[in-house]
């Protein structure tokens, strides 16, 4: 599985979530992780149509197909439940 997180350095929710994602990833060591900055990695981030609410969590299966997408600030539990377990 692969997690793509689209965030921006000016976004308070992204600041909060970056710490939670880092902690959560420790529980899922098999997951590949890619972080895209909405401004710095603009072209690549825009390929995923991030919309207007940040951060954006996109989960891809082994074949690279998007299987779920969650947006915005999430509690630690919801992050695990909605993003990692789906």
């Amino acid at each position: 599985m692969k997690l793509i997180v689209i965030s921006a350095i000016w976004c308070p929710a992204c600041l909060i979530m970056s710490k939670r994602v880092k902690e959560a990833l420790l529980k899922f060591p098999d997951w590949a992780f890619v972080k895209l900055d909405l401004d710095m990695d603009e072209d690549e981030a825009n390929q995923w149509n991030p919309g207007k609410t940040l951060p954006v969590f996109i989960v891809l299966d082994e074949s690279g197909k998007e299987i779920r997408r969650v947006i915005g600030e999430l509690s630690k539990d919801r992050l695990i439940k909605d993003v990692f377990h789906g």
Binding site: A8, I9, W10, C11, P12, A13, C14, L15, I16, S18, K19, L38, D39, K52, T53, L54, G72
Partner: protein
Amino acid sequence: MIYLDYSATTPVDEEVLMRYVHVERHAFGNANSKHCAGVRALSEVTEATNSIAKLLNVLPEEIIYTSCASEANNLAIKGCALKHPHKKHIITSVLEHSSVVAPLYYLQQNDYLVDMVELDEHGRYDLNHLQSMIRDDTLMITLVAVDSETGIRQPIEEVAEIARSKGVLLHCDITQALGKCPIDVRDIDLFSCSAHKIYGPKGIGMLVKKKSVSLVPMIHGGRSTTVFRSGTPQNALICAFARAVELAYWHMDTRAARVKELRTYLVKELSGFDKISINSNEFAIDQILNISVKGIDSDEWVSNFSSKGICISARSACSGKENFSKSVYAITKDHGLATSSLRISLSHLTTMDQLRAFLDVLEDFLKEMGD
């Protein structure tokens, strides 16, 4: 054009502009030069700095001129972090400007821990929570004095008391408060602001840093007006900034009274529209009025108003592409209101006719929406 976005920026006051032109023409010397042109320039800069210091109740040597408040925020946060590398904990809030959030994000990527103070039901900092968050390794509390989206005035003086009692640095972004509401900066260790929000020119801001506080400069290059920010002194901008501060302080009461009158009228009229929720509460400064029209896309409505020659905003101009107002959500806990908020920011320059025209257009849009 009807300009109702004075919290994003303001037009330069004619008197401020004249001051700028005068200094640029007659005191263009490098204020660090020893010859007569330099002495003349230094004299103007010193006089301006003394004037700002007196009005803000700080020492002249505590003023560090920067290019903008964003630079001042970066200097305060990163400069203090570099100076005290053993302290890795910083407290902030979801209300902060992007130029506070971004350096904190950067520090968090470099092993700092950033925690957010909770807001109470009025959208103000929960002081009990704040107090409980402070740790032995807390470097700094960095909080905004007035939320730029809802205008809510924060209890920053109480925050300063907590910070002082715990021996933690307090940095405060007072950009939206300066010249608009009284603020006691005596116990604030560092504060940032800019000229262009108070009818001064763009391109100058300042960080005021208490003498007892030390930080590492972000721009190294020798002494300017201070060792904490190198670069040739911006004589004309500094003098124009000083004149803008002078005018803001001298006329604060009359300007505030005028804005209060405008706001009272606007709130009364807006209250007549069923579809409109007023998000700014009793703690908001009069200059900022945040409303929501549930079901609309804020950005789309900003464009619609603009097509009619009316300038309002959805959020802070620096909050990027996001369409969700954290500030509005903090007060309302309503996602719909937070994604449909509009900020109207008033000035003593605003006229009743302008507000009437705004209300007429708003009424038309609401009718179209109903149809």
